[in-house]
Subunit: 359 residues, 3 copies
Amino acid sequence: MSQAASAIPFQQGSDLISTTQFDLDSVETLFSLSDSLRPLGRSEYACDVLHGAVLSSLFFEPSTRTRLSFESAFARLGGGILTTTGFTFSSMAKGESIHDTARVISGYCDVITMRHPDKGSVAELADASMVPVVNAGDGAGEHPTQALLDVYTLRRELASRGKTVEGSTVAIIGDLRYGRTVHSLIDLLRLWKGVRFRLYSPASLELPAEFFDREDAHRLLVCESVQDALKGADAVYCTRVQRERITDEKVAASIESAVLLNRKMVTDWSNRDLVIMHPLPRDSRPGSFDLAPDVDDLPGLAIFHQTDNGLMVRMAIFCTIFGLDQKALKASYSVPKWHSAKPIARPGLHSAGRQAQDW
Amino acid sequence: MSQAASAIPFQQGSDLISTTQFDLDSVETLFSLSDSLRPLGRSEYACDVLHGAVLSSLFFEPSTRTRLSFESAFARLGGGILTTTGFTFSSMAKGESIHDTARVISGYCDVITMRHPDKGSVAELADASMVPVVNAGDGAGEHPTQALLDVYTLRRELASRGKTVEGSTVAIIGDLRYGRTVHSLIDLLRLWKGVRFRLYSPASLELPAEFFDREDAHRLLVCESVQDALKGADAVYCTRVQRERITDEKVAASIESAVLLNRKMVTDWSNRDLVIMHPLPRDSRPGSFDLAPDVDDLPGLAIFHQTDNGLMVRMAIFCTIFGLDQKALKASYSVPKWHSAKPIARPGLHSAGRQAQDW
Amino acid sequence: MSQAASAIPFQQGSDLISTTQFDLDSVETLFSLSDSLRPLGRSEYACDVLHGAVLSSLFFEPSTRTRLSFESAFARLGGGILTTTGFTFSSMAKGESIHDTARVISGYCDVITMRHPDKGSVAELADASMVPVVNAGDGAGEHPTQALLDVYTLRRELASRGKTVEGSTVAIIGDLRYGRTVHSLIDLLRLWKGVRFRLYSPASLELPAEFFDREDAHRLLVCESVQDALKGADAVYCTRVQRERITDEKVAASIESAVLLNRKMVTDWSNRDLVIMHPLPRDSRPGSFDLAPDVDDLPGLAIFHQTDNGLMVRMAIFCTIFGLDQKALKASYSVPKWHSAKPIARPGLHSAGRQAQDW
């Protein structure tokens, strides 16, 4: 990644490439803005502060969920969206440099969100773009908006239990080696004092050594089992094994094909008010080494709050980039003439309509 | 399909999964709303009652025409659109359940339209969605908006000839076995009294036996030829042979490669004011067993009125889901400052500009 | 192409199929409108004169840059966009005629932009469409909006040097045989008096003989080298060798794999204020026979002004089609509440934010 880009604090007009662009103040400001945008994200109000603004949504790697979340965030603020998806970009296939692509596309829009399989590619695009660029995931690099929505959700869930991020204990289980979201999550949570991590992973999928070389490595505790990791944890963060990132076949074969975490394990081994998180998607097929669907009606389940919250956080990111503060936003709300949310809970519908609960 | 979903009458906040959700009153209300939306659909006025609302358009099977019709209907009402197309959905490919997909996507939008190759998949998605879901075709299942626009068109065409749906005679010719639209059409037309059907199909493509087991089976008359089917018919509904749905090669080979219906057959064998319908697309290649292009300048041709009307019916469906009645809609119209329709008829342009005729 | 379509002057409600639809007056009117739209294209203002209007963007051949430019132009004017991309169109694959496709799609929108690999296909679609169709490139046919933005840029760049298109000398180098944009450029520049062309191409990639059979062929001078072509030139227009259009392998192999034009060649052989143009994308890979990246900080570089200007010209095209003149447009501007352009130049960012210079 470009040193220049990651060194610029996240503010109006800047790119968002890395979580390193945030300090505690700026991340709390972003979260506070996210809070104030909840009525918009939940369609209780409509607004059009970004009317006339254009987002170019460039996804060179498939990620429907992330793309829709960004695009919905921009649409909720009243902006227009130009979408490009697919593994190949026609001009790049003809030998166009990323500099030329950036310069050209940035002449058509006011902000760019980009996902690309190559680490550093988003920063490279940002360097030549005339408009701000938001990193929607650059391969083995970063996915900063995922880390932000994860921490935002953790903070809200803990707050609803009378707890704070400061001083909390977070168990992280699953693939800690290739799980990009886990690395960004740990990095971002370092901004708060006294957060402790209890780590469990199958052999060969441990957290990379560099994390243990840092000065605050004493916060990291490697555990022998999921049961051990859950001891005293306020929250658990699970990640599926990203088999497509494992090139060594031996390692892939060695991963046990049992469940990572299920309802019985949570009930038997954890605090009653454990917050259960997962970056999604989870693999719900029988035999997958992932979070089991039978946890879905536990009161601590926060996995869908994470995706719901992603909308709010991404709206806040766009508002920051466009220089819109809370005051400007609230002044622009208006009451909508419509509402489509299902009025009544139905059997099998865990979250009984958006009006029924305040997640 | 989920019994729960199909049992809920179509109204504000509900899913639209099946034509069984309608009775005669609710379908007539929908058609009346469709009528009142015609000036909007024809760009005589613009409106923005759905400003701020977001549609997630999920097409896991290609159907450009149906997708564009839904998306245009939503755009005409002022809403924003998030489009996903393609055979694979990235998260589903990683083992995500349809429940998780539904729960996540429904956090990003206010309504979902979905097309999927698997029967029952749309109802399954609807069961876990926080926002209403509209079935845009679920494989061998249903395609309720097609049935609605077909009957809406039939009603309008008959009315322009001083006739009613009640008591009318409808010839249905072509593939009656695999033609999903034919089944939904017959089902929906059962709501009106005294509708009679004259059926013709090539051998092995007959209407499924279950239709003849119903109490009103006396309305169905199997005919030996197209000529016979057209006798006394007020309208004819043609369907092409959907070869991709026929897995038995013998059956596929047995289908005669002649025309299904052409201008001479209509002129020689039918009433002068016969309404000619087809769900489209039709196969216009020489030798295809379909409706021939030489019928295109017959005055009874209604096949493009069907697609035009689809826009109005889908706008009415969205208005119903969002709780917008005719009064609210009419109050929101405003005169546009623009118009793009071609001012003059050109050679080869059958419908001479949108202003030239009131289809 | 249909004679009927290309014979209709470009005006409100008409298709845009060919540059032959313009005379000097109408092209100057379009350019003047483009000038007045610059504040909108640069996001200094927002407007919604096309609020409620719907564009159907049909790209049957990949061309992300052209598609995004058209879609951005429509979005900047407040319109809604329905996008279809991909090599196959589901209905056409089932044997649907281009007439049926045109008639159906034109019932869903107010204007269509279409790119298609087959020459004449866009005109054929236009013949059956109820709404205006804009040619976004029809294979070996035309790409009229590219020619318009090229000449618009040339005119602006020359004007900033106190020169005019009339009487100017334009060097054109590279592939003059298969380069569609070169042919349209020469055709369109014939509208101005006294424009002279100095041509250089590798053997077998010469300008087609038909250009030398015209009455104004004395304006065309074939040069032996790039150095010769640049003599006295006010501007140089480069095109990469479109290898995918060359089917004769011998010809492909004979093309020298050196650079087409680089910084040293410009500095040594041309006027100081030479305007450097290219339709993009350019092949920036080492060894490509194209415009070298080391020209990028020359003051005469206009290649990104071309793409930026494409937005303005395409907005002007839509405004013309929808009958919006300069007065109507200016009345509809409003001050936006946001701005996202990067505030400060960054190392490696050639164009230092959109506010830093008036291209």
